[in-house]
């Protein structure tokens, strides 16, 4: 009843000794996530929140049989942390760090393509399978277990939609915040593919925003390959062209693609209704389940 993470996921936290790393390790463990190790060079032998710390990810994985990592390493060192995680053959790497230089991510993205690992992020809230595990910084209490998959480019917008879903009694199978950076690992299509294959995901909410063409491509994927119903939401309808709004993802080029209209009509043309408000998204989901 989930995608990518569940009760059995064994997590190593990269950067566990930092402030963020430590705080969210505690939060993840409190939520029930199986955090088995930390990895911080030069801190091998220490403990954080009762979890043993190793000098390298490889040692952590060897000793604790981890299969996923969460990266809380500062931006200057985060790409290196991603390389280390990718080269250690983990199933899943979740990069929370915001502000990683784009050229660094371009290299990480190339390496990612050479592996079988799923990378979520960077600059993302992470992934959660309600009631089982969360890898990242999502506020666990708003989620509830159920059959709606959720994939979103934006963190707080994810929370908003999840809150509305939970309020209306619609639990989630897994929610994935893919992040709003120019270059990210798992994209909409990757996430949709996972949800399509998951028998316990009965409908998917896809939250996009203006800029780029990922939503348009995802729409075509939905039309062509998906049986599971998808409901869309696109943020930035009122953003004026040429203005950069917040993270790098949110910019409209001014030409035909990348606008909210283009994304909304691509989704609708491919059978995915789009809500005007988060509440309307939930209405559509109710209709489809």
């Amino acid at each position: 009843m989930s995608v990518l993470v569940d009760d059995d996921t064994r997590v190593v936290v990269q950067g566990i000794t930092g402030g963020e790393g430590k705080f969210h390790t505690e939060q993840m463990m409190e939520y029930g996530t199986n955090v088995v190790a930390g990895a911080v060079p030069g801190k091998g032998g220490e403990e954080v929140a009762g979890v043993p710390v190793y000098d390298t990810v490889d040692q952590a994985v060897e000793a604790e049989d981890a299969d996923a990592s969460v990266v809380f390493v500062p931006p200057a060192f985060a790409a290196d942390a991603c390389f280390e995680a990718l080269d250690t053959d983990l199933d899943l790497v979740v990069a929370i760090t915001e502000g990683i230089p784009t050229q660094d991510m371009s290299k990480v993205y190339k390496r990612l393509g050479e592996t079988d690992t799923h990378l979520i992020g960077p600059n993302c809230p992470g992934i959660i399978t309600p009631g089982e595990a969360k890898l990242g910084i999502l506020p666990g209490n708003i989620f509830s277990s159920g059959n709606v998959g959720l994939v979103s480019r934006s963190g707080t917008l994810t929370y908003q939609v999840v809150d509305n879903l939970t309020d209306r009694g619609l639990g989630q199978s897994t929610a994935i915040g893919i992040g709003g950076d120019p270059i990210i690992g798992t994209d909409f299509i990757d996430a949709l593919e996972l949800f399509e294959e998951d028998p316990d995901t009965h409908a998917v909410v896809m939250c996009g925003e203006i800029g780029g063409e990922d939503e348009e491509e995802a729409a075509r994927y939905i039309g062509e390959y998906m049986d599971t119903p998808v409901v869309g939401f696109i943020a930035g309808r009122t953003a004026p062209p040429g203005k950069r709004m917040g993270h790098a993802g949110a910019i409209v080029s001014g030409s035909g693609t990348g606008t909210a209209e283009s994304k909304i009509s691509a989704l609708e043309d491919n059978g995915a209704p789009v809500g005007d408000t988060p509440e309307e998204v939930v209405d559509h989901i109710e209709d489809l389940l």
């Binding site: 050229q103 708003i142 963190g155 994810t158």
Partner: protein, 381 residues
């Protein structure tokens, strides 16, 4: 972060890309002296971060000392699309027979750099890209290997650049890629790359935008950054470190996370209001940032009411609530009505903390937006 033309040219020139003789001037006398120095004809070019400087009167070609003085007087100190001109580049005019375009940028869709060459330089390349995409040769670069020498040649030959200058253009493109790579460029462009009658190739303009996230490893470039934004509010946003965009409505909007703030704007519009701004206070915002955000929106005279929408993940509702209280308690009279909606981490604590004498509290996003739009409608009446 965008370099000024003169800064980018300095960087390009040091790397071996030919640029015209030029001098920077900050006063009319300096500009005239510079013109005498580089010789006539020469161009006097406003150094501000504005597109279409030429059309807006920020670039003038001069043939004599008198013309130089007149142009410098016109340009230095002028207001160019809201930006104050305090520096001009005085640059020798190039007698060209052809104008090319060369550029390097990150193709986000592909996740890799792309090098571009076109024989249709000297015009707005975005327009060329839309009207006639095939007029721009594009060569994607594998970021692990970097640009191979053949790729520069391929882009140049594919663009239809003349064989007589192809080698020089390829070598300029190679240097441009290396600069882009070394300096963490987001875009590096030469438009136009001028070709003279005797097959010299000269960078007549220079664009270099640097990834702000990478400035930590380029202290030399970070020093070049100057805050020339003349819009007071945008300057203030920059100072506070906010993602801020000013719009033309009257509903002030503050929130955390770009997607959620955009959604708030969209809802304002959906419920019949007009957003005055986009203001993202980011993740984990503490009391001080909250106060600064309110200060920003209150400073905007167009704003009639403010919706403050926080969904806490890293950001904690109690801290936001304290920030709002602190900020508003300083006023004898609250400048504009504020509607607050808190959800997520420590939201309940936050709701309890909020001083409801100062703000109107709403439980849902929809309610908060509707309430705020109503307030502006009241003001309008």
């Amino acid at each position: 972060m965008r370099l000024h033309e003169y800064q980018a040219k300095e960087v390009f020139s040091e790397a071996g890309i030919p640029t015209p003789d030029s001098k920077l001037a900050e006063t009319v006398d300096e500009a005239v002296a510079a013109a005498e120095d580089v010789g006539y004809p020469c161009a006097i070019k406003a150094q501000v971060h504005v597109g279409g400087r030429g059309k807006a009167g920020g670039i003038k070609l001069v043939e004599s000392e008198d013309e130089a003085r007149e142009a410098a007087e016109d340009i230095i100190g002028m207001d160019l699309k809201g930006y104050h001109v305090d520096k001009v580049l005085v640059e020798a005019a190039v007698d060209f027979v052809n104008e090319l375009y060369v550029g390097v940028t990150m193709d986000r869709g592909e996740g890799k750099p792309v090098a571009m060459v076109s024989t249709r330089g000297g015009v707005n390349i975005e327009e060329v890209a839309e009207e006639d995409p095939d007029a721009i040769a594009r060569e994607h670069i594998d970021p692990s290997f970097g640009m191979q020498p053949y790729q520069a040649r391929k882009a140049v030959y594919d663009a239809g650049v003349d064989q007589s200058i192809a080698g020089d253009v390829a070598s300029i493109l190679t240097t441009l890629y290396e600069l882009w790579d070394d300096k963490d460029g987001s875009d590096a462009e030469i438009n136009p790359l001028m070709v003279t009658g005797d097959d010299e190739v000269i960078a007549a303009d220079a664009v270099m935008n640097v990834d702000s996230d990478a400035l930590f490893r380029h202290p030399d470039l970070a020093e070049m950054e100057d805050e020339a934004a003349d819009d007071d509010l945008e300057a203030k946003a920059n100072e506070y470190g906010f993602d801020y965009v000013r719009l033309d409505g009257n509903v002030g909007i503050i929130g955390n996370g770009a997607g959620l703030v955009m959604t708030t704007l969209d809802l304002v519009d959906y419920y019949g209001g007009k957003p005055a701004n986009f203001l993202d206070i980011g993740g984990g915002a503490k009391a001080e940032r909250v106060a600064n955000a309110l200060d920003m929106v209150f400073s905007d005279e167009n704003v009639d009411a403010v919706v403050f929408n926080i969904f806490g993940g890293i950001t904690r509702g109690d801290e936001v609530a304290n920030g709002i209280n602190d900020a508003l308690e300083q006023f004898d009279e609250i400048p504009k009505p504020v509607v607050v909606r808190l959800a997520g981490t420590k939201a309940e604590e936050g709701m309890e903390i909020l001083n409801t004498d100062l703000v109107q509290v709403e439980a849902t996003l929809e309610d908060a937006v509707q309430a705020t739009v109503s307030l502006t409608e009241e003001v309008d009446q």
